[in-house]
């Protein structure tokens, strides 16, 4: 049941703004850090800090979808806002396609924002309630110097591409749209500056399952059509497995594991990743989860445990885990599978350090993704 020619059927080759070439990662993040001060007491002095993002380094490869997972409060959204420069970072460097961002040599913030955009979670606040959606989409191009008519044409074109007929929807206000329709508008707004990379922060989490599938579908098409790179932040492990090429797992403001999606899902090396994967619900009644794989709440990010931050909830914790923090390690290829766990590093001093990853394999095989993935 193929529809009449969709505006997204044609895929233009390469991206006109590409600078670094195929091998240059789209985005390199180095030692990103953000602590929020906590004020208390009669004199309202700073008494502590929440270590929301605590020294994160990773890179995003051109053309991939990097999934980011973790419990709520682990710093996923803070990281996204730091990358977009919506809040000042404490430390850290960003390199976008080979150019340092907002540093003396490199590209300006304004230029970064033309190339890197963000799709917000669908909520009542994601679209300006007093602007027709067409205007919301056209706002970005207007800011970057497009004429009104031009910007409007871009907006109408994008509305069509995200599956909303501009003549019907263009003049509507957000309250006249459904959740799925609003999310399509959010995506169109992010695309209005013709960016090369999108950060999708819980972009489908608030949608009904059927609408979620449609929007994921749309994201796939847009990615091919516009040659986009995605960073897909979600707490839904099934969706992340479905959409991602690589996955990054966060715990208390740090990366605990990063690697290709199938390796992460089939042979997780970090006990936290394993526990997360085990807490997914299965469609098979014989495979139901009887006991919660993770008990208790994450520790207080104001005063995280010494050494490995997961050790307080880890069944394999040993003395070495309290003594020093396991490094994530660096690798030559971004496609390497890395885990910040003493058990994954030989010679770390942990009694299980030499065992094969099989011992950490999840007790339940991962559930099949909703749609078959075919690797190109």
């Amino acid at each position: 049941m193929r529809k009449a020619k969709s505006p997204l059927q044609t895929v233009p080759p390469g991206h006109p703004n590409d600078r670094g070439g195929k091998a240059q990662p789209m985005l390199i993040v180095e030692d990103l850090r953000k602590y929020f001060p906590i004020h208390a007491g009669p004199l309202n002095r700073k008494v502590a800090e929440v270590k929301a993002v605590d020294g994160i380094s990773f890179s995003v490869v051109k053309g991939e979808t990097l999934g980011v997972v973790g419990e709520s409060g682990c710093g996923k959204s803070t990281m996204a806002r730091l990358l977009m420069h919506l809040m000042p970072k404490d430390t850290g460097h960003l390199i976008f396609d080979g150019d340092a961002v907002a540093e003396p040599t490199g590209i300006s913030l304004r230029e970064l924002r033309r190339n890197l955009q963000m799709v917000f979670q669908d909520s009542y606040s994601s679209l300006n309630p007093r602007l027709p959606i067409e205007e919301s989409i056209a706002y970005g191009p207007c800011v970057h110097g497009a004429k009104r008519a031009e910007a409007k044409a871009i907006a109408r074109d994008l509305l069509e591409k995200v599956g909303l007929r501009p003549e019907l929807f263009g003049a509507r206000y957000p309250h006249e749209l459904s959740g799925g329709q609003k999310q399509r508008v959010n995506i169109a707004r992010a695309l209005a500056l013709n960016p090369r990379m999108l950060i999708l922060d819980e972009a489908v989490s608030a949608l009904d399952k059927s609408v979620e599938a449609q929007v994921l579908q749309l994201l796939g098409y847009l990615k091919r059509h516009f040659n986009l790179t995605y960073m897909f932040i979600s707490h839904d492990l099934h969706v992340v497995q479905y959409i991602s090429d690589r996955v990054l797992v966060m715990y208390l403001g740090q990366i605990v594991e990063i690697g290709p999606v199938d390796e992460i899902y089939n042979s997780p090396r970090h006990p936290y990743t394993r526990a997360l994967l085990n807490s997914r619900l299965s469609m098979d009644p014989d495979e139901r989860v009887e006991t919660a794989p993770l008990v208790g709440d994450p520790p207080n990010p104001i005063d995280p445990p010494s050494g490995c931050r997961f050790r307080t909830r880890c069944p394999f914790a040993e003395e070495v885990c309290a003594a020093n923090a396991p490094p994530l390690g660096r690798s030559s290829s971004p496609l390497d599978h890395l885990a910040a766990c003493h058990m994954a590093h030989e010679g770390s001093g942990h009694s299980r350090a030499n065992q094969s990853p099989a011992i950490l394999r999840p007790s339940i095989p991962p559930v099949a993704a909703p749609v078959q993935r075919i690797h190109a």
């Binding site: 208390a40 007491g41 009669p42 004199l43 309202n44």
Partner: protein
């Protein structure tokens, strides 16, 4: 909770200092030379300079402020230009008279507002609700000084039931609420004063109670078979912190708003004193009265805030 209380008290200090700065500035925005009124018209330039020096008026303004603040803190607010009495004493004597009718007015307003507000909130949209809403619109729209005049016309001029003005023959020295001969002088001022706070407290009661009654736990109480009166008792306690906060605020407003009502009824309170200060352009008296009343308002707000932490467990003990 002690932590919260300490923090709230610390936060009050800069506000109180700000209030003193505004009061100090009043003298400077007043037209005319403060010195001129103290000297005979034929004073020489050296006389003026001498006097200025003796009052410290030749020093920089921040220093003048600190000196003034130091005097104010020790209870010295200067002397009235009209009768050369110490300002602090005059204002404090008047304040007790104002507090008397203000507290009575707030109590009257609170009891009527609570009943009306509960009736209105219990059946939103009913005739009781509409009546209550009508009263509250009138109450916040009516000029209190006009209401006072109308009440005087009605009860003093036409009906001869109550005295029109004053505080009785014996004055404020031996005024007693428990003797009808004297207490009747307070009735009209208190009624006039009570109408605006009544309207506002009733609005607060109605809206916060209606909100509580719409919450899930009230449904649970009904489902458990609780009677309507018992449910109302639960609901009113949940709405009480907001109502009490409004009550305190209104008491504070009456301290300031009493000027019009006391002028009409020639009630010898702070408002009457202020009016006298304005008519005679007695700036030290004006300044002192404003300072004491504003500080009383700050103190009332502080007490209300602290009381709220006791009444409302939701306010953090952090």
């Amino acid at each position: 909770m002690w932590f919260y209380a300490a923090r709230r008290i610390v936060l009050t200090i800069p506000i109180a200092l700000g209030v003193t700065i505004i009061c100090f500035a009043l003298v400077y925005i007043a037209p005319g030379d403060p010195i001129a009124s103290l000297l005979p018209p034929n004073a020489t330039a050296s006389d003026i300079a001498l006097l200025k020096h003796s009052y410290g008026l030749d020093r920089p303004i921040p220093i003048q402020y600190l000196i003034w603040l130091g005097h104010a803190l020790t209870g010295n607010l200067g002397r009235s230009i009209q009768n050369s009495q110490p300002v602090a004493g005059e204002v404090l004597r008047a304040l007790s008279n104002t507090l008397l009718i203000a507290i009575l007015a707030v109590l009257v307003a609170f009891s009527i507002a609570l009943v009306l507000g509960m009736l209105a909130a219990y059946r939103v949209g009913s005739w009781v609700d509409r009546l209550a809403t009508g009263i509250s619109v009138l109450g916040i729209s009516v000029p209190s000084f006009w209401l006072g005049v109308v009440l005087v016309i009605l009860f003093a001029v036409k009906l001869h039931w109550l005295p029109a003005t004053g505080m009785g023959t014996s004055g404020s020295e031996s005024f007693s609420l428990f003797e009808w001969k004297q207490a009747k002088f307070a009735i009209l001022p208190v009624v006039t004063m009570a109408l605006t706070p009544l309207s506002i407290i009733m609005r607060t009661t109605r809206s916060s109670l209606a909100e509580v009654l719409g919450q899930d736990f009230v449904q649970t109480l009904r489902a458990k078979g609780l009677g309507e009166i018992a449910i109302m008792r639960h609901a009113i306690w949940n709405a009480m912190p907001q109502i009490l906060a409004m009550l305190g605020l209104q008491l504070g407003y009456l301290l300031g708003g009493s000027i019009l009502i006391e002028t009409i009824f020639t009630w010898p309170g702070t408002g009457y004193l202020l009016n006298k200060a304005i008519l005679t352009r007695d700036i030290p008296l004006l300044q002192g009265a404003i300072l004491i009343l504003a500080m009383a308002f700050v103190a009332i707000n502080l007490v209300v805030d602290l009381l709220q932490t006791v009444v409302d467990p939701r306010i953090k003990r952090a």
